[in-house]
Amino acid sequence: MSDITISERQAGDVTILDLVGKVTIGEGSVALRSTIRRLLGEGKNKILMNLAGVGYIDSSGIGELVSSFTAVNKEGGTLKLLKLTQKIQDLLAITKLLTVFDVFDEESEALSSYN
């Protein structure tokens, strides 16, 4: 069984990914990478990643977020983060990645920011 479940929703031209589980070295990171690559292949390059259900992330998972961010940017799109848990917020602060990612607490506010 995979460590992570990734569900997709569409809000206009923004694809919302609801992640539940762990984004860690191995399956969790691979599943995220595959999803992002597939969305970009389908021309969906406005992506909002909801991390409310992510109970755990390690440095490999953080690296996968960065990789996703870079891949989406290269395709002319935008990847933003929604509802960070305190743990993830702490890790992004330690790594200074809060200066890189656009982060939102409210989905409506995040969606408005794409306009």
Partner: protein, 136 residues
């Protein structure tokens, strides 16, 4: 010492989860709180992942030797691999602006952020040992 556990793990990615699971179980049995256990969990995941990937380079015949110890000082973890070691000073700072978008290199930063002591040494029998202490 109030308790010690030694575990030998094969050099594969699944060992990261196994090490974390054993450590969680051991730490909780020692009555340590959630925040403390969470810090240990992350440090073990990062150090075992480094040992598997960069130390033993996934060589199945090489093990990762994990020691967990509840001490008077707090909690001590040692992770030994059987690789050729590395120079800690050569690891780039992942928080440097030019490295922010690199996809790896943050594990040691996490270990140092969540543990009070993180030290590397060469084992006399070969390989690298990282010793980490979380004080109470």
């Amino acid at each position: 010492m109030a308790g010690i556990q030694q575990i030998k793990l094969p050099s594969r990615i699944e060992s990261v989860d196994e090490a974390a699971s054993k450590a969680d179980e051991f730490a909780k049995a020692q009555g340590l709180g959630d925040d403390f256990v969470s810090a240990i969990d992350l440090a073990i995941r990062e150090s075992v992942a480094n040992a598997v990937k960069h130390g033993n380079k996934f060589a199945e015949e090489k093990t990762v030797d994990l020691t967990l110890a509840r001490t008077d000082e707090g909690f001590e973890i040692t992770v030994r691999d059987y690789g050729t070691g590395f120079d800690i000073d050569e690891i780039p700072d992942p928080t440097d602006p030019e490295n922010l978008l690199k996809t790896n290199g943050r594990g040691i930063l996490f270990m140092r952020s969540f543990m009070d002591v993180v030290e590397w040494s060469n084992h006399e029998g070969g390989g690298l040992v990282v010793k980490m202490i979380k004080r109470q």
